[in-house]
């Protein structure tokens, strides 16, 4: 930080000065403000994961207590109990494990398939064209419908939702990577790599792929937000539900029977956790994206 100590008049005029020239405390607050959304998103997810793994309630999420059925929220059961006498707080955290894991696995699979397909689709000539027309045809019909059909046909198992998430999301990764790769292909460093005799695969994976990281990270976050909602929707419809393990969607489905009799806590609390998680992922995506726009202008 040698250049920040050039003089007091310099250090105090932070406005209009590039961050590199600011005093370190200014740099810190500048960074925090710039990343506030991302930090908030990660904080929410961090608390959620910690709570899900440690299990802060004295109640077993898989063990019901028939003597306390449909109890309103109280000091003993902060989120109340459902119609089987399960503690809703305990089950909400237990469900977080399943929902988050499914989303991460699904998006991970979509990322792996999508990035590979997208990179190869950016190749000149017939290969790229064929892959893109294939993607068009694939996306032309309702993917959510297809994913429901896949889960139903593969056996009604929560794990199969991973494939549904991957099917819905991989075309977006593929298109994103391809469009970015097409731009990068024309840049000087890629031409230089080609001139040095690097193979096609090496150029794609070692030179183009690293430069799409920010875009991909933003899409991972958007995709995860979307995946959490899709998982909740599918399990709400009863797809992939296996009774003892809770998911947020299945809990809301169960609680929706109480909507007309007025036990609101049965569906509201798991629902709020879906909203909170989706907002957290969206904040992270917004933060990465707006930073990328600031730096590259597009």
């Amino acid at each position: 930080m040698a250049q920040t100590d050039t003089g007091p008049q310099h250090a105090n005029s932070a406005v209009g000065v590039a961050p590199g020239e600011m005093r370190s405390s200014h740099v810190f607050f500048f960074r925090v403000r710039e990343w506030s959304g991302v930090l908030l998103g990660f904080a929410v997810l961090g608390v959620l994961v910690t709570a899900a793994l440690s299990g802060p309630t004295p109640y077993d999420p898989l063990l019901s207590d028939p003597s306390s059925i449909l109890e309103a929220p109280s000091g003993e059961h902060p989120f109340g109990t459902d119609r089987n006498g399960f503690d809703i707080l305990a089950r909400t955290f237990e469900a977080a494990k399943t929902d988050l894991l499914l989303a991460i696995e699904g998006i991970g699979l979509a990322l792996a398939i999508g990035v590979t397909v997208g990179l190869f689709a950016s190749a000149r000539g017939a290969t790229g064209e064929i892959i893109m027309r294939g993607l068009d045809a694939f996306q032309a019909f309702p993917l959510v419908v297809l994913s429901i059909a896949v889960v139903t046909l593969m056996g009604n198992n929560v794990e199969n939702i991973v494939f549904a998430i991957a099917i819905i999301n991989f075309p977006r990764f593929a298109r994103l990577v391809r469009s970015q790769a097409l731009t990068l292909r024309e840049s000087l460093f890629v031409q230089a790599a080609v001139a040095f005799g690097a193979s096609k695969t090496r150029v794609l994976f070692r030179h183009i792929l690293p430069n799409t990281t920010e875009l991909i990270l933003a899409q991972v976050s958007i995709g995860s937000a979307h995946a959490i909602r899709v998982i909740a929707s599918l399990t709400f419809l009863g797809i992939g539900v296996s009774p003892p393990t809770p998911t947020w969607g299945a809990m809301i489905r169960k609680g929706s029977r109480q909507v007309l009799s007025g036990e609101w806590w049965t569906f509201l609390f798991p629902g709020l956790f879906v909203v909170l998680t989706v907002i957290a992922f969206n904040l992270i995506a917004d933060g990465i994206e707006s930073r990328r726009v600031q730096r590259h202008g597009t």
């Binding site: 309702p142 059909a149 896949v150 046909l153 929707s233 609680g255």
Partner: protein, 352 residues
Amino acid sequence: MNIDPVRLRGIGKIVGRRLAVLPIALLAVATIAFFLIHLMPGDPAIAIAGEFANDEDIQKVRERLNLHRSDVDQYRMYIAGILRGDLGREFYTGLSVAGSIRRTLPNSAELVLAGLLIAGVIGVSLGTVASILRRRPGDRVARFVLTVTQSIPDFLLALILIYWLYTVFEFAPSPLGRIGVDTSAIAGREGSFLLLGSVFRGEWVLTRQLIGHMFMPAFTVGVVYSAYLGRVTRAALAPALDSPHVEFARACGLRPLTVLRYAWSEARTPAITYFAILFGALIGGVTIIETIFAWGGFGQWGLQAILALDIPAIQGFVLVTGTITLLVYLALDVLILILDPRVVYGGQGGTN
């Protein structure tokens, strides 16, 4: 709005060309609808017959669905049926698939249209506010509101609305279909555009009832999808307000509202595009809301078909959603050609 006659002829040519390709695209959709079912992992006959079925039962299911024939024969029979306007019969109920589509589609169309109008009002006004207040705190607030509405799952919002408006305050009518439990007022009119029909016939009592029952599901659709329209409005309108020609309009001393109108005419193309894409996607896609409100809609019917692995019904569902999407996109392209003089499709020069 006056359109240059040369351009109008060009538009006519483009529409003609797109209409000529339409049958081929429809055949492609029908083919996808067919192979979607037939190339999926697992044997549908076993899934339909159930876990405890013996070989004879499974064979019976195969014969009823023609699954014992070769794929090529099945495909030929299926396409021939479509050309006759025959989409087959539902496996479990024996009803004609085409009849079920005709019965459910108008319900969905009215719900989606009402919902998207609400989404347009909420989204476009939030997006406009965010654009006017760009780079100020109000912008962040408006965008955060949009992020939140985008994050609420539709079924949760529907349940909260039912709980507050029906269970607690008894303000809204029962969330049971288009007109509640007593359906005598609409007897014999299933499968028509109930709301539009009642307005045209001047049956105001019925119109009020229908709107009352439509309020909660349409509002749910409206809030959930307002985020898409709001974001796209913000993304297009904010740069438009900073553009040189809007700056010039402002420098001329035009009233702020007039300036906003000029900027908006530049930003409306992406907003209209999103509106149309959402309409195409939601016609068979408001499944969950239709299920919760027992709406009797097309998406609800399609979902039941998929869960029951009712092959003729699933094929009909995919065929119709694909066809509607194609037609909506065609209408969208024509509309944008008329509205936006910068757009040139295909032809010489210009980008598409």
